[in-house]
C-alpha cells in the first residue's frame, strides 16, 4: 500500500443480514421462534485507489451500493471484510481521529443543527473540531464570501431554502480544512444557478487547497463539470474506473456529422474524398447527408477539411452521445468486457 493514497480499498465488502418474514398470521407466529435471514451483499470486493487532489465521480443506480460504500469510507459503517485505509486511517476503528481529516455533505440530510442560526452551527463545529480561533475566522470569512452566504448567517437552518442550505452545508463541511471531502448528491433538487455556484466553489477548493473530492450524484452534468475520473458501480461491483474521456471514446458510439449542402452531391463523391478515413456516408434526404465517424478514430476537422473545399455547405451539425446516454446504455446493456 502506498502511503500517499487518499483512499485505498482492496476487496472491500459489506454484507447485510436481512430478516425475511413469512406470510400470514401463522407465518408471523412461526417467525417469533424461528427467524429466516438472507444475506445481501451490498458492496462486493471493491478495489479503489484515489490519489490526493483528485476529483472523482462515483456513480451508480439506486441500490447499486453507492451509499453503502460512502458510509464505509466515512467510518459510519464497519466493512464486513476487505482492507480499507482512508487518509491513512482505518475509518471505523479510528473514527474519532479519522473524521477530523474528512468533510462530509449528504445532500438529503442536514449536517447543521436545525433550530439554531447558521453561524451558531459554525461556532459549535469550531469547538467540535477544535479549530484555533484565528484560523477559523480567516477561513470562514473566505468561504462566506465565495459562497455568498453572508446574509444567511443569522438565520436558523430550517428557514433556509434548499440552495441556501446547501451552500451553508458546504461551508460547514470545510471549516476544519479536511484533506478529503465526500459529497453525496450535493446538487440534488437545486436550480441551475446554484449548481453552477457550487461547482465553481468546489473547483476552487480543489485547486487552492488540494482537497480530494469524491462525489456521488445522479446528475451526470456534475461529473462532466468537475471530475476527470469516474468510478461506476453496478450491483455492488465496480464496472468502470477510468477517465471520462475514455468512457466516452469507448462507449460513446459513433459521432454523427450532419450536412446540408447547397446543391445535390453524389454520395459516391463524398465516399471517394474520404476513402482513407473510417467514415460511412448516408443520404437522408434532399441535399442532406450524414457521415458516421468510427468512434474516437477520426477528428471531425479531418473530415471537414476534405469536404468543405469546394462543396458549399449550408448547415452543419455534430452529434455525439452525451455522457448521460452512455451511462444509461452501459446500465442497460452492461459492459462487454469490463
Amino acid at each position: 500500500m502506498r502511503e500517499m493514497d487518499a483512499i485505498y480499498a482492496e476487496g472491500l465488502t459489506k454484507e447485510f443480514k436481512v430478516y425475511q418474514s413469512r406470510g400470514g398470521l401463522w407465518g408471523a407466529f412461526r417467525d417469533l421462534f424461528d427467524r429466516h435471514y438472507r444475506i445481501i451483499r451490498a458492496v462486493e470486493g471493491i478495489r479503489m485507489r484515489i490519489q490526493p487532489g483528485e476529483m472523482v465521480g462515483y456513480i451508480g443506480e439506486n441500490g447499486a451500493g453507492k451509499s453503502t460504500t460512502i458510509k464505509m469510507l466515512t467510518g459510519i459503517l464497519q466493512p464486513t471484510s476487505g482492507e480499507l485505509k482512508v487518509n491513512g486511517f482505518d475509518p471505523h476503528r479510528e473514527r474519532e481521529r479519522f473524521v477530523k481529516t474528512i468533510g462530509v455533505v449528504f445532500g438529503q440530510r442536514s449536517q447543521l443543527w436545525w433550530d439554531i442560526a447558521v453561524q451558531e452551527s459554525f461556532r459549535l463545529l469550531q469547538k467540535v473540531y477544535q479549530i484555533p480561533p484565528k484560523e477559523y475566522k480567516s477561513h470562514l470569512e473566505r468561504m462566506v464570501s465565495i459562497l455568498e452566504i453572508e446574509s444567511l448567517l443569522d438565520q436558523p437552518v430550517r428557514k433556509l431554502s434548499l440552495g441556501q442550505r446547501m451552500r451553508c452545508e458546504l461551508a460547514a463541511s470545510l471549516l476544519h480544512k479536511p484533506k478529503l471531502l465526500f459529497l453525496d448528491e450535493p446538487t440534488i433538487g437545486l436550480d441551475v444557478l446554484v449548481k453552477d455556484n457550487i461547482r465553481t466553489f468546489l473547483k476552487e477548493i480543489n485547486q487552492e487547497l488540494g482537497t480530494t473530492i469524491l462525489l456521488t450524484t445522479h446528475d451526470i452534468s456534475d461529473i462532466e463539470a468537475l471530475c476527470s475520473r469516474v468510478i461506476m458501480l453496478d450491483k455492488g461491483k465496480i464496472i468502470y474506473d477510468g477517465s471520462l474521456t475514455q468512457l466516452k471514446k469507448v462507449w460513446g458510439g459513433r459521432k454523427k456529422v450532419l450536412l446540408e449542402t447547397e446543391r445535390e452531391i453524389a454520395i459516391t463523391d463524398f465516399k471517394s474524398r474520404t476513402v482513407d478515413l473510417p467514415v460511412t456516408w448516408e443520404s437522408t434526404g434532399k441535399r442532406q447527408y450524414v457521415a458516421y465517424l468510427e468512434q474516437g478514430e477520426v477528428a471531425v476537422s479531418d473530415l471537414l477539411a476534405r469536404v468543405v473545399q469546394d462543396i458549399p455547405i449550408l448547415e452543419m451539425q455534430i452529434e455525439e452521445a452525451s455522457t448521460e446516454e452512455i451511462v444509461r446504455k452501459i446500465y442497460q446493456e452492461g459492459i462487454p468486457d469490463a
Binding site: 458510509k71 467510518g75 439554531i116 451558531e120 467540535v128
Partner: protein, 261 residues
C-alpha cells in the same frame, strides 16, 4: 477537559434556542412548576393515608421518595433519549453523529439534554425537608456531600441501564418499542426494598440495581445502619453499570447499519 468545554458550548446553544422561543420557554417553565406542585400534592396525599409501611413511618417513606427525586431529575436532564430509536436510528441522524470527532454517545446526550428537568431537584429537596421535620435526623457535616455523591451514583445506575436498553436499537433495524419498558424504570427504587419479596429485593440490588438510586442512599441518611454498606457502594455500582452501558453502546455502534437511502 475538552469534553467538558464542549458540554458547556452545547449547553449555551441549548439556552439560545430556548430563549429564541421566549413564550415557549415561559410556558414550559410554568408547566414544569405546575407539574412539580401537583407531584408534591400527590405524594403528600398518597402517603398521608399510609401511616406505616412494613416498619417504615410515613415521614421516612416520604423522605426516601423526596431523595429519589434528586437523582431522577438529574437523570432526566441528561438522558432525554426516549425517542432515540426513532430519531437517531430510523431517521438516520446517527450518520451525522458518526462523522464528527467526538464520542457518539456524548454527542447524542449533548444534543438531547433537557436541563430544565433539574427543577425536580428543588421539588426533591422540598419533599425531603418537609419529611425531615417529622424525623430526628442528625446531619453530619459530610452528609450533604455524601448525598450528592450518592445521587450521582444513582444517576449512573439509571444511565447505565438506560444506555444498555437504547443500545438495542443499534443492533436491530426494526422499530422496537422500548419506551414502555424504559419508562417503567422510573417507578422502581423509590420505596423501601424490604416491602418487596426477597427475590425482588435481590433483583433490585444486584441485577437491575434500582434500589441504589433511591432507597439505599436515603436509608443511610435516615441512619439505618442495616443498609449502610449498600449505600456506601452506590458510586461503585453506578460506575460499573455506566461502564457496562457504554460498552454495550460501543459494541452496538459496530452493528449500526444506517438508514437506507
Amino acid at each position: 477537559m475538552f469534553q467538558l468545554q464542549l458540554f458547556i458550548e452545547y449547553f449555551k446553544q441549548y439556552l439560545k434556542v430556548r430563549l429564541a422561543y421566549r413564550w415557549d420557554f415561559v410556558v414550559q417553565l410554568g408547566t414544569d412548576f405546575f407539574f412539580q406542585a401537583v407531584n408534591l400534592v400527590f405524594i403528600l396525599v398518597f402517603f398521608g393515608h399510609t401511616k406505616t409501611l412494613n416498619g417504615w413511618t410515613q415521614h421516612e417513606v416520604i423522605f426516601i421518595y423526596g431523595y429519589f427525586l434528586i437523582p431522577w431529575a438529574i437523570f432526566s436532564a441528561i438522558f432525554n433519549l426516549w425517542d432515540f430509536n426513532e430519531r437517531y436510528v430510523i431517521k438516520g441522524e446517527m450518520d451525522r453523529i458518526l462523522t464528527r470527532p467526538v464520542h457518539s454517545l456524548l454527542q447524542v446526550i449533548m444534543e438531547t439534554m433537557t436541563p430544565e428537568s433539574l427543577i425536580g431537584v428543588v421539588t426533591g429537596v422540598i419533599v425531603m425537608g418537609w419529611a425531615a421535620t417529622g424525623l430526628e435526623i442528625e446531619w453530619a457535616w459530610y452528609d450533604p456531600i455524601l448525598l450528592l455523591v450518592f445521587a450521582l451514583g444513582g444517576v449512573a445506575v439509571y444511565g447505565g441501564i438506560f444506555i444498555s436498553l437504547i443500545s438495542i436499537s443499534l443492533f436491530t433495524d426494526s422499530k422496537s418499542d422500548l419506551q414502555p419498558i424504559i419508562y417503567n424504570i422510573g417507578t422502581y427504587g423509590r420505596y423501601p426494598v424490604n416491602i418487596y419479596h426477597r427475590l425482588i429485593q435481590f433483583v433490585l440490588t444486584w441485577v437491575l440495581p434500582f434500589a441504589f438510586v433511591g432507597f439505599y442512599p436515603a436509608s443511610y441518611l435516615l441512619d439505618k445502619t442495616q443498609w449502610q454498606w449498600y449505600a456506601l457502594i452506590t458510586p461503585l455500582v453506578g460506575a460499573v453499570y455506566l461502564g457496562i452501558g457504554i460498552m454495550i453502546w460501543n459494541w452496538g455502534i459496530r452493528y449500526y447499519r444506517g438508514a437506507g437511502n
